[in-house]
């Protein structure tokens, strides 16, 4: 790319190729438009209230909570990669650590944004800390997510200060260095916080005694969903990281991380996914044969309403669990980029489906004699707010990729062949 088309050249690290400024602006334009529509929808919801949505007393959790749970699960790659790099000393994964932090920051800040719109009255957000409901799993979630977002911000700051222009300021350079030196402490704190809030998000459903579809027995005060949520999040985090990195490689036409890192991410994800599928299968069997009948529901009764048939369970555990676990664990398929990405995508879809089932299906099913099966379709305000988070994520990631050193090995790999027969042209 000729440097003359890069008006913002001075903000871009030397030695890396970036697309021209005009082309980059064109890439951002539709996302900015989506962001604008989403902001308008968010304004409507915040100003007029939740009557702007299709949620009601039955469906108090809808698209937004599904989005929250999903992006928090996908964003688990941030804490888990930090844990593997700094605490387990898996140095190879440093190649994706920065990207993982940005993705984590986007996911968690996006989740907080949606929660602020969903709960409403964001100016009174401090109430949840000062007057918390000590009997709610959400209290732990709120405390942990808030703290973890601070941790992610502190991990994001050194990367931000590594920008070519910002690092020229001596105080920024020194702060970046010192904060970077302390990142292992933050990684440990992040691991602790993530462990609890991922778990509590799952526990939130498991303790719903009035919802036999979601209710689970467990260990001490924690239902089995507490542990399943942690396991599924750390299983899918590396897959999501591999998937997004590959997507960026495809969009930019550049090799960003070595193949060995993809292999490692795939193996970690595969192992954890296999463990998760085993745990989930046992949990499902116990629920079908013991927990659900104990509260008066026949094992398959939950799957006899509308579209929510038994196929959902089969898809969740088989197609989106067992299949990707097998593909990721078998060395031959893991070594093939196409299969690796297919498996990673299936794993990510699996966690989305799991969060959808627990959020929407749980509320759709009748639980009392006079209850009816109900369905819920989000309206445009909810969808636009969903789009707001997606657009925010794409824009922030694009800007981070352009101006910050997300992939430290990018310079080394410049000119690497990223696909058979295709040589990187340096877009």
């Amino acid at each position: 790319m000729a440097s003359s088309t890069l008006i913002d050249r001075r903000f871009i690290a030397r030695g890396v190729e970036r697309t021209g400024t005009a082309r980059f602006a064109m890439w951002l334009a539709p996302w900015v438009l989506l962001l604008g529509v989403g902001l308008y929808a968010a304004y409507l919801c915040l100003y007029y209230g939740l009557n702007q949505t299709n949620m009601d007393n039955r469906f108090a959790f809808g698209l937004w909570i599904f989005l929250d749970l999903s992006i928090i699960a996908l964003g688990a790659g941030a804490f888990f990669t930090g844990f593997l790099v700094y605490l387990i000393k898996m140095k190879e994964l440093k190649a994706v650590l920065n990207s993982a932090v940005v993705l984590g920051f986007i996911c968690y800040s996006g989740a907080m944004l949606v929660l602020a719109i969903d709960v409403g009255q964001p100016a009174r957000a401090w109430f949840t800390f000062w007057h918390p409901n000590t009997h709610s799993m959400l209290t732990e979630v709120t405390f942990c997510i808030s703290c973890y977002l601070v941790v992610l911000s502190l991990e994001y700051i050194p990367m931000l200060l590594k920008n070519r222009k910002l690092r020229q300021a001596p105080s920024f350079l020194a702060f970046e260095h010192q904060l970077h030196m302390l990142v292992p402490v933050l990684a440990a704190v992040g691991t602790l916080l993530s462990f609890f809030h991922q778990g509590s998000l799952g526990g939130l459903y498991g303790v719903l005694r009035g919802r036999p579809f979601a209710f689970r027995e467990g260990f001490s005060i924690w239902p089995s969903t507490f542990f399943l949520f942690i396991l599924s999040a750390i299983a899918v985090g590396p897959s999501f990281l591999a998937l997004t990195t590959r997507l960026v490689e495809k969009v930019t036409g550049k090799a960003l991380i070595p193949d060995s890192v993809y292999q490692r991410l795939g193996l970690i994800s595969g192992l954890l996914l296999a463990f998760y599928v085993a745990a989930k299968s046992i949990d499902t069997l116990v629920w079908l044969n013991v927990t659900s009948p104990a509260v008066g529901f026949a094992p398959w009764e939950h799957y006899s309403y509308g579209q929510f048939g038994i196929w959902l369970m089969a898809a969740e555990i088989g197609l989106f669990g067992l299949v990707p676990a097998g593909l990721l664990l078998w060395p031959k398929t893991r070594a093939r980029r196409g299969w690796l990405m297919t498996a990673a995508a299936l794993a990510c879809c699996g966690v989305l489906l799991n969060r959808f089932i627990l959020t929407v299906q749980t509320l759709a099913l009748p639980t009392l004699a006079f209850d009816e099966f109900m369905t819920y379709t989000p309206n445009w305000q909810e969808v636009a707010t969903f789009g707001l988070v997606v657009a925010y994520g794409v824009i922030l990631y694009s800007l981070s990729y352009r101006y910050l050193p997300l992939f430290p090995q990018e310079k080394e790999l410049a000119g690497e062949v990223i696909e058979e027969g295709t040589h990187v042209s340096g877009r």
């Binding site: 030695g15 732990e140 105080s171 350079l173 260095h177 010192q178 030196m181 402490v185 050193p405």
Partner: protein, 271 residues
């Protein structure tokens, strides 16, 4: 939840939860405060220049971190793990004792043997009056030609090795030339005079093992010329062998459309 709020009463669960919560909160706050305090100390004690160099070194691709002993042909392959601080390298002496096996010519450029060379393309010469003269080496001089502006340090200013020596500007491209050694600025020169700085260096600081010399220089130059050739080749062109020509003077003026920002980053070891 908190003592004094909403009829709070102490229970075992409260103690555990609050202890964990406040421990986490305190860790986050303490980490931030510690980083700010240490950064403030670094700025005050002028350690920033060293931090900058170490950050720049970490960003260098392995090919540009070649050990001096590889440049001299003493070892087949070795990447420097010590930010070119050969004075602290425990293996320096072991390799330095080996015979050199490197080209002995300077590719038509002026690299007098009585000078020591910094990887950031500056040279150092000890003068008879005890001062040390510092200048821009021939390769960098040929690239820049006549700079549009030169920003030199004040007389009396202390320079750190690998810190900022002086700055050049040419065709809108800003360049920071690293000081090859530490010392106090006694006099400043200009491109026309062929040198930029005269430094007073205390005897105990005349440990310049990090600077290249003798048989190490041609090997280093050869790699630098290869890097230049790659960086200045038109996009999409296939790698080609050097034709043996000499580097012209004022290449920035000769090739105004090249990506000089990138080339100069590689030349002056800056990312």
């Amino acid at each position: 939840m908190f003592p004094g709020v909403d009829g709070f009463h102490w229970t075992f669960a409260h103690v555990i939860f609050l202890a964990i919560f406040f421990a986490v909160g305190m860790t986050i706050v303490a980490t931030t405060v510690l980083a700010i305090w240490r950064a403030h100390r670094d700025v005050k004690t002028r350690r920033v220049e060293q931090l900058r160099w170490h950050a720049e070194f970490e960003d260098l691709p392995p090919a540009e971190r070649t050990c001096r002993h590889e440049l001299a042909g003493r070892v087949e392959h070795r990447t420097c793990p010590h930010a070119f601080a050969c004075g602290t390298c425990p293996e320096y002496s072991k390799y330095a004792a080996l015979p050199t096996d490197a080209p002995e010519y300077a590719f038509g450029m002026d690299y007098p043997p009585n000078r020591l060379y910094h990887r950031g393309h500056s040279w150092v010469r000890e003068d008879e009056d005890g001062l040390v003269t510092v200048g821009l080496d021939d390769l960098a001089s040929r690239l820049v030609g006549k700079p549009d502006a030169v920003v030199l340090p004040e007389k009396g200013q202390w320079l750190e090795a690998n810190g900022t020596g002086w700055r050049l500007r040419k065709n809108g491209c800003e360049m920071r030339v690293m000081a090859p050694i530490a010392g106090e600025v006694v006099e400043t020169g200009s491109p026309a005079e062929g040198w930029y700085l005269k430094l007073r260096v205390p005897p105990e600081m005349r440990q310049w093992r990090h600077l290249l010399r003798g048989g190490e220089v041609p090997g280093w130059l050869m790699r630098e010329l290869e890097r230049l050739q790659l960086q200045l080749s038109p996009e999409g062109s296939a790698p080609s062998l050097a034709d043996g020509g000499m580097l012209v003077d004022g290449l920035m003026d000769q090739m105004p459309k090249a990506d000089w920002d990138n080339v100069m980053g590689g030349t002056f070891l800056q990312s």
